[in-house]
Amino acid sequence: MQESDKVVFLMHSVLNMNVRAPGIAVHRGPIEDLYRFLLDRGFEVVQIPCPETSFVGLRRWWFTRELYDSVGYRRHCRQLAEAVADLAEAYHRRGAKLYFVGQGLSPTCGLRMTQSDPTWGGKPFQVPLEPPAVVGKGVFVEELERALAQRGLPVRMTDVAPAAIYPPYRIPREGPYPTSLPEALEEVKKFLDA
């Protein structure tokens, strides 16, 4: 089989919502429209295992960046990021063009925005449905950028807008992302087609 010259590294839940925390999944499995687009366009797809699932598990709370930003979780993300960067380097040596697609707003995989609230912690309390969204990156994305930069790898990076992966009550009203599902999908498709 002929190798693709375009390789996209995706965060896990883009193809499998079953690794998401309870209460924030708008798809049964993959974002089907994006799954079809990637294969129709001939991308080779590399799916990065969900760092949150393998560290905290499937029965996890909604977290903020501060809750994940611990020594142990950073080490976990760094180890995975190094393994991802090594694979990206192998594809780069074979002449492939590299892309990364994270998950907007995720405290782990967000690129343009993440969720941050330093008051979360200690005795559990009811949090608002609206996300504590701030401009910033998730913990894994920071470690991945570092690992890619150390290897000098040219990777075009984006994240899927929250409107494609979160229920309406988790979509930030302000910020860089489109706020409807069609616009969110169009944005990532345009990025990958450019």
Binding site: N16, N18, P22, E44, V46, Q47, L87, A90
Partner: protein, 113 residues
């Protein structure tokens, strides 16, 4: 607030397969996706040889699958005739005594969900 108060469309069904199988047998995988299965892909591990990074990939995938099984998700492996990448993960799962059904990826009905 309970989980049921929120939108949660997770199917709790996952198809484990190699990226190579996805590229070669997309028509088969499409049928699993239509049935609501999410995909968990094993990358081309041969590009990493026997490095520590290859080990990290395998263990991260096993952690994910084991966590799904522990939470009573349905996880099915779809195995092509020559599937060395998937085999590495299946062997590591067996070492952990995590059991999942393995379906042959053929052109026949046995590959369907």
């Amino acid at each position: 607030m309970r989980e049921l108060d929120f939108l949660d469309r997770r199917s709790r069904r996952t198809l484990l397969l190699s990226g190579a199988t996805l590229r070669r047998h997309r028509d088969v995988v499409d049928r699993w996706v239509e049935e609501g299965y999410g995909l968990t892909l094993v990358p081309r591990l041969e590009l990493l040889g026997t490095s520590a990074s290859a080990h990290t990939w395998v263990q991260a995938l096993c952690d994910t699958v084991e966590e799904m099984v522990r939470h009573q998700h349905t996880v099915v492996a779809l195995r092509a005739a020559e599937d060395p990448d998937l085999d590495k993960v299946l062997q590591a799962l067996a070492q952990r005594q995590v059991k999942i059904p393995v379906r042959p990826c053929t052109s026949g009905k046995e590959a369907d969900p």
